[in-house]
């Protein structure tokens, strides 16, 4: 139990810089809201026409999101969805997907 508390404390310290990270699984939980279209953990079904997000760098993903938000990247639906997430949430989500193999 003591070890677990120590580990938890270390984790919290590691994520302290990231806002809203009260729950250590927040990034995982937020990224799961994308899975309906982009596949579990960002691995979309082959041939489904949906973009896989797993393993894409954080910078690249954040740029796409900025382009959807600004309207620079034309979209049918993504420009409406990205506006529902804060910058902090998008940072967590993109970090999570970038880390998926």
């Amino acid at each position: 139990m003591k070890l677990r508390q120590l580990f938890t404390a270390l984790c919290l310290a590691a994520t302290a810089a990231t806002a809203q990270a009260e729950d250590p699984n927040l990034a995982r939980n937020l990224a799961a809201t994308c899975a309906n279209c982009h596949g579990t953990n960002g691995k979309s079904v082959d041939g489904s026409g949906m973009e896989a997000l797993a393993g894409t760098t954080k910078e690249k993903l954040l740029q796409k999101i900025r382009d959807f938000k600004s309207g620079d990247k034309p979209a049918t639906i993504m420009h409406q969805i990205v506006k529902g997430y804060t910058d902090e949430q998008m940072a967590l989500i993109t970090t999570y997907f970038a880390a998926q193999k």
Partner: protein, 423 residues
């Protein structure tokens, strides 16, 4: 046959933290036995994610009365003849690979104080957490003429995908050209708000191509089109003038099944194929187990965990719950409920509080003909003060116009959400 926590604990090995970055998540180790009732969009997703996110540490039993999953989304394309039932049917083998114990049976009762359920085929099963994802059941008692098996075999709902989907298709094929198909829509909330309008549109498309003298009539209990109104109205005006007629404020009061007649307040409408989407409430097992209901129909839940507000240990997902403002009863939403509940259950089993800031999003595509679709999307975030989910202002919206790209996206959505829940 009794399953208990001790047996499962014995079988369990210590969960290990996975991956350097998210190893922290493994710091809270959940274990126990979660029983899930209903293998649709909510229950199947919860089953997979409980196994995946606990690294196999949590034992999961899924009880589902059907042998295979049949998707309601895309089923209107089976009604219109554009797809087959096989296209929307998927087995539960993928969940078994995740270590989910899948049992084809029905739950007949819940003892929430003892944390056990009773099965139709006999025996009890104990749980640490129970997840109910039973979908809807129909309030046939509100339509006396339809409240018997014989009438229900003639006047179909096809609002649970499966044999009725195929039977409705057959009725349309058998209908003579020059006939009329009518669909009745109950007052909201009901499962899949745009679904009836999509079905009417697709059938109008089928008539236009194959039975051009035939008509589609929408008898809507609501005062206006409930979902994607502008897009549906434009599609009907552009594609189906003279074929599709929309009548608002036309609540179904009863049915004369023998004569294919919809009985409204001031009118009786006799048609060739009558398709009644009956009024609905939470699936029986959720509605009749002492869980707190709202309007005597939908389960009241805590949005931080999807837990029943009056019965400890029971979480409810999907169409069976009383929805938050603007939240539709959709398969997509049920999948998202399942992930929220899964995260909360794993925290609770590990002795931690649920995530205080959950977020849900919804996407819903509808076909207006066999090649063109439209969508509505929304994002909902938890409001700690109001203790409910509120739509994020400025986010979400509907399509600009129907098009083929959205139809491709709709099929891509289906393939990915089916995989997200079942493989």
């Amino acid at each position: 046959m009794i399953f208990n926590r001790r047996n499962f604990l014995k079988a369990m090995s210590a969960a290990t933290a996975t991956g350097a970055l998210y190893g922290c998540a493994g710091a809270t180790k959940a274990n126990g036995h979660v029983v899930i009732v209903g293998g649709g969009f909510g229950g199947a997703t919860a089953a997979k994610y409980l196994r995946m996110w606990s690294n196999g540490g949590v034992q999961v039993t899924l009880i589902e009365r059907n042998a295979q999953f049949i998707s309601c989304p895309i089923s209107n394309l089976v009604v219109s003849g554009d797809k087959t039932l096989a296209d929307i049917t998927i087995g539960y083998e993928g969940l078994k690979k995740w270590g989910v114990r899948v049992i084809q049976d029905e739950v007949t009762g819940i003892d929430a104080s003892k944390r056990t359920i009773r099965l139709a085929q006999g025996g009890e099963m104990s749980y640490d957490r129970l997840v109910l994802s039973p979908g809807i059941d129909f309030m046939f008692e509100t339509l006396p003429g339809l409240n018997n098996a014989d009438a229900q075999s003639k006047i179909l709902h096809a609002w649970k995908a499966g044999s009725q989907t195929v039977a409705l298709r057959k009725q349309l094929e058998d209908m003579k050209d020059g006939g009329t198909y009518a669909i009745t829509i109950p007052k909201a909330p009901y499962r899949c708000p745009p679904g009836p309008y999509e079905r009417a549109s697709l059938i109008a498309g089928y008539f236009k191509a194959k039975k051009p003298k035939s008509k589609v009539l929408i008898l809507d209990a609501n005062e206006d089109v409930v979902s994607k109104k502008g897009l549906f109205m434009k599609a009907w005006a552009d594609l189906y003038p003279g074929t599709l007629e929309y009548r608002p404020n036309s609540e179904l009061r009863d049915v004369d099944a023998a004569n294919h007649t919809a009985i409204l307040e001031f009118d009786k409408v006799k048609v060739d194929v009558l398709n009644v989407v009956p009024p609905q409430r939470a699936g029986n097992i959720a509605a009749q187990s002492g869980l707190k209901l709202i309007n005597n129909r939908w389960v009241d839940i805590d949005w931080l965990s999807m837990a029943s507000t009056n019965t400890p240990g029971i979480h409810v997902l999907g169409d069976a719950i009383f929805p938050a403002a603007t939240m539709p009863k959709s398969g997509h939403m049920a999948n998202q409920h399942a992930k929220l509940a899964t995260a909360a259950i794993l925290n609770l089993l590990a002795g931690d509080a649920p995530n205080p800031a959950p977020l849900l999003m919804n996407t819903c595509y509808s076909f207006v003909d066999s090649r063109n679709a439209i969508h509505v999307a929304s994002v909902h975030s938890y409001d700690a003060e109001k203790k409910t989910m509120l739509p994020v202002q400025g986010a979400g919206g509907v399509s600009v116009i129907r098009n083929e790209l959205e139809a491709k996206s709709a099929m891509g959505w289906a393939k990915n959400i089916w995989a997200d829940m079942l493989t």
